[in-house]
């Protein structure tokens, strides 16, 4: 049996009266995520098993074939971050012996476990029956699940995705993953869930996934318009929610992306800018590409620093963290296991430096961006390494100015608002000044 999420179509009259403005699709995705927490909280009572897995390399379609309720630890951590709960959780984990330099997603999650697994919505989350360690480039994932396994003594199955060190996917890499799926992952899931694997069911989910993926790509690429109707980073965080978590493959997700795409199409037709928490952005002054996740604990303050200055993020690598679709990849029902392999291999976290640089340069060009901004994450040892080199290379290739700021995922202590605002304002003024100079040069 599958999880059915009751979705109330967003109606203008039903919107809560709040100062913060959101698109209908943003409200819808919040409802969906909350419903998933509710579903998770009651899973064991309903006799269902729970699988935990990570966002990059999330094999949602496959996991659903075994009726698992799905829990995503990074999403839990970021939701706790956005709800201002992570600071305490991190300190609890540190008290339990985890160092200051450990990934703060991990510490937030461990802190949540120590506090009795009370999830972001206040509901108690179940202990997982299966840890599906789909490894796609972040080495911390292994240690993270090792810690959870140690605590809960639950079944763990690992899917190892080879790194795209040479910048390409080979047939043997694909075969290697398919072999693991067939010989280890699927049998383990059958055993833990007691449900027999049905490849046709997988195919059906994948058909739904591909439809949602098509719409997501259209939405994200709408930022090529001027003005951009969306913010491809802060806004995209809401857009990627369903597809990167427990919903990809479900008709609900397909429906969500259909609603979203229509909403955005309408904005493009009306030449509208993105919706920000303070209303529609009226003047687009700067178009940026961003690398690195946002800071979650001060998410809205961080966003405000952009829209107050008329800066819109037209594209971000973070919006691809749960799957890179804009290069043409789609889940393929005709080759289900191979397509899962390609999905994992193509995750942003599994790309080499040259691939990441190419991707950013391509975005800079296709989205007509004024510059690149890197938000480097203090506690992320996997992805902060090399970011300055990427920055320099992108600067060199595109001739566009780049800037580098540092903050953290969910540790509120590492977000220095005044400093970041200062850097951003300097950066925007730098773009403006360079543009003015370029204008003078062109005029002459």
């Amino acid at each position: 049996m599958n999880t059915t999420i009751q979705m109330t179509p967003a109606q203008p009259g039903k919107k809560p009266v709040a100062e913060v403005q959101k698109e209908d699709a943003m409200l819808l995705q919040k409802e969906m995520l909350n419903a998933n927490y509710k579903d998770l909280a009651s899973a064991h009572d309903q006799g269902r098993k729970v699988a935990a897995t990570f966002v990059p390399g999330n094999l949602n379609e496959l996991v659903m074939c075994f009726d698992f309720a799905r829990s995503l630890p990074e999403t839990n951590a970021l939701q706790n971050g956005m709800r201002k709960k992570s600071g305490k959780l991190i300190m609890d984990a540190e008290r339990d012996g985890h160092s200051e330099d450990v990934c703060t997603y991990v510490k937030s999650d461990l802190g949540m476990m120590l506090g009795g697994e009370i999830g972001p919505t206040g509901e108690k989350l179940p202990t997982p029956d299966l840890l599906l360690l789909s490894y796609t480039g972040c080495f911390t994932f292994m240690k993270w699940f090792e810690l959870i396994r140690q605590k809960y003594n639950c079944e763990t199955v690992m899917l190892h995705t080879p790194y795209q060190g040479d910048g390409k996917i080979t047939q043997s890499m694909r075969d290697y993953i398919v072999k693991q799926l067939k010989e280890t992952v699927i049998p383990t899931m059958e055993r833990v869930s007691g449900v027999k694997f049905d490849i046709d069911r997988l195919r059906q989910y994948m058909r739904e996934s591909a439809k949602a993926e098509d719409d997501l790509v259209k939405v994200l690429q709408s930022a090529k318009n001027r003005p951009s109707p969306i913010d491809g980073y802060f806004g995209a965080v809401y857009y990627i929610g369903p597809i990167f978590t427990a919903f990809r493959g479900l008709p609900e997700a397909t429906q969500y992306y259909d609603v979203l795409r229509r909403e955005i199409d309408e904005r493009v037709r009306n030449k509208k800018g993105p919706i920000t928490p303070d209303g529609e952005m009226l003047e687009e002054k700067y178009r940026l590409v961003v690398e690195g996740p946002p800071n979650w604990t001060s998410f809205r303050d961080f966003w405000k620093m952009f829209y107050d200055e008329g800066a819109v993020v037209v594209s971000s690598t973070y919006a691809k963290v749960g799957g890179v679709y804009d290069n043409g990849f789609r889940h393929d029902a005709d080759h289900p296991l191979e397509s899962l392999a390609d999905y994992c291999l193509g995750c942003y976290t599994n790309l080499s430096f040259p691939q990441r640089i190419d991707m950013i340069c391509k975005y800079m060009d296709e989205y007509e961006a004024d510059g690149l901004l890197i938000n480097s994450i203090k506690s992320c040892n996997s992805f902060s390494a090399g970011q300055l080199l990427m920055l320099r290379e992108v600067e060199k290739r595109t001739g566009k100015p780049a800037a580098f700021i540092e903050s953290d995922l969910v540790d509120p202590r590492y977000f220095s608002g005044a400093n970041i605002k200062n850097r951003l304002e300097s950066y925007f003024q730098m773009i403006k000044q360079k543009r003015a100079v370029a204008g003078v040069v062109t005029a002459h």
Partner: protein
């Protein structure tokens, strides 16, 4: 006359620069930022305009040849006398404020004794005030809080003892009063103070008194010239507090880049070490910023580090550099954490290291941190300009020179004696460009 003004509201000091229509720097002003940026901006600007008056005095007097050969001596004396007059105005206010704050029930039975101790203390301070501004007098700082405070503390202890009251009662009165006084604006007294200073100067330099009228005339004419604040650009941490619209605000990165370019046209890389941040900026041949890096998550190795060390050593900030220059041995200090620096310092002292050697090690530690930020910004290119308060510190400069040579080889290192005003100069230049090149007019705060 039209003046274009840049104000740099830093975390420690607030600086202002005024330039004229030919982009000549006519005045510089500096004050401590307090925690009140409005007042700091106002006072720095006033100081710059006072300084501009002196610039104009020099021009007018050298044209009038009333002081042939004695112009510099005369102006130096006049400036000291003016500082004394300014000091006395604030000092009188401080005395009245202290008396007011000591009245009432606060000190119970000791009230009367506190009031009379205050009278005695201020009398002694007033007597010694002129010596503070005598030729060659050394002051820890030029800010009223520091000058008045250090003497108040020094004399207060013996006055308290003599008056049979607790020293902390006098300290308490001072702490309450100084904040009020330093946040008051004494701008309206400037002209009167200048004229009063002029009288003092004629007494101090009797040989000039015979030419008093010939000297007074050009000075009066300068005083009658209106220094119009045509356009003001604000930068630095407190910039959002400036009383004008966003159009008048620039990031300090841009201002430092442009200011460094105005000071040294060949500048390609700029290092600025301020109170709470270190900036590495790359500029093009027009002073336009190409890229920058700053310390983000931690202020280790910034100017405050030295401030903290100065406090730990019970020394003035300006005394650290000269002490470090006496070093004869390299003491390695690895931590650039401001808080750990105190522990490092005590540890080395306990090991018997000399203060000057430790100081040199601490200066090197700051510069090591700056080298890493420079590397992040793309390295050092020729010419290299060092700005900010720390550029005034000769030991920091020496450490920088050594490390630049070790890592990048021979480079032209520009350090302007007025480098602390770099951001403000950049701001003033932006103000000039806004009006003269872009035809803008001043806008009120939205």
């Amino acid at each position: 006359m039209r003046c274009f003004i840049g104000i740099d509201l830093g975390s420690t000091t607030t600086k202002a620069v005024a330039i004229d229509e030919h982009q000549n720097i006519i005045g510089r002003g500096i004050t401590n930022s307090r925690s009140n940026y409005d007042t700091a901006a106002k006072i720095a600007k006033q100081e710059a305009l006072v300084n501009a008056r002196f610039y104009l005095f020099r021009q007018a007097l050298s044209q009038s040849s009333a002081l042939n050969g004695a112009l510099e001596e005369f102006l130096a004396q006049l400036e000291r006398d003016f500082r004394l007059e300014q000091f006395l105005v604030q000092f009188t206010d401080l005395e009245a404020t202290c008396q007011r704050n000591a009245e009432g029930e606060r000190f119970g039975d000791a009230s009367k004794a506190v009031l009379s101790a205050l009278s005695e203390l201020f009398q002694r301070l007033r007597i010694e005030a002129p010596t503070l501004f005598a030729p060659g007098a050394k002051r820890r700082s030029d800010f009223f809080r520091d000058i008045a405070g250090s003497r108040y503390l020094a004399l207060g202890e013996e006055v308290a003892k003599e008056g049979g009251i607790r020293y902390d009662m006098l300290l308490n009165v001072f702490d309450r009063s100084i904040i009020e006084v330093e946040n008051r604006d004494y701008g309206s007294a400037i002209s009167a103070n200048l004229l009063a200073a002029l009288d003092r100067t004629f007494i101090a330099l009797p040989e000039t008194a015979s030419r008093a009228d010939a000297i007074r005339a050009p000075i009066r004419s300068v005083l009658d010239t209106v220094l119009e604040e045509t356009y003001v650009i604000g930068t630095g941490y407190g910039r959002a507090r400036l009383p004008f619209s966003k159009e008048h605000i620039r990031s300090e990165i841009l201002c430092h880049g442009l200011g460094a370019h105005m000071m040294h046209a060949g500048t390609a890389t700029v290092l600025d070490i301020g109170g709470q941040d270190t900036k590495a900026i790359q500029v093009d041949q027009h002073g336009i910023v190409e890229s920058f890096q700053m310390n983000d998550r931690c202020a280790a190795g910034c100017g405050r580090y030295l401030g903290y060390i100065a406090d730990e050593m019970n020394m003035g900030l300006h005394e650290l550099g000269p002490l470090a220059m006496k070093a004869t041995k390299k003491v390695r200090i690895n931590s650039t954490c401001t808080v750990f620096a105190g522990a490092e310092l005590r540890d080395r002292l306990s090991l018997g290291e000399k203060r000057e050697d430790i100081m040199a090690g601490l200066h090197r530690a700051i510069i090591l941190r700056a080298m890493s930020i420079l590397a992040r910004s793309g390295g050092i290119r020729n010419e290299f300009t060092f700005t900010g308060g720390v550029a005034k510190n000769e030991a920091a400069v020496k450490a920088l020179k050594d490390l630049v040579f070790e890592n990048y080889g021979e480079m032209t290192l520009n350090i302007n004696p007025d480098s602390i005003f770099t951001g403000a100069l950049g701001g003033a230049t932006f103000a000039y460009r806004a009006v003269v090149e872009e035809g803008k007019t001043a806008e009120a705060r939205e």
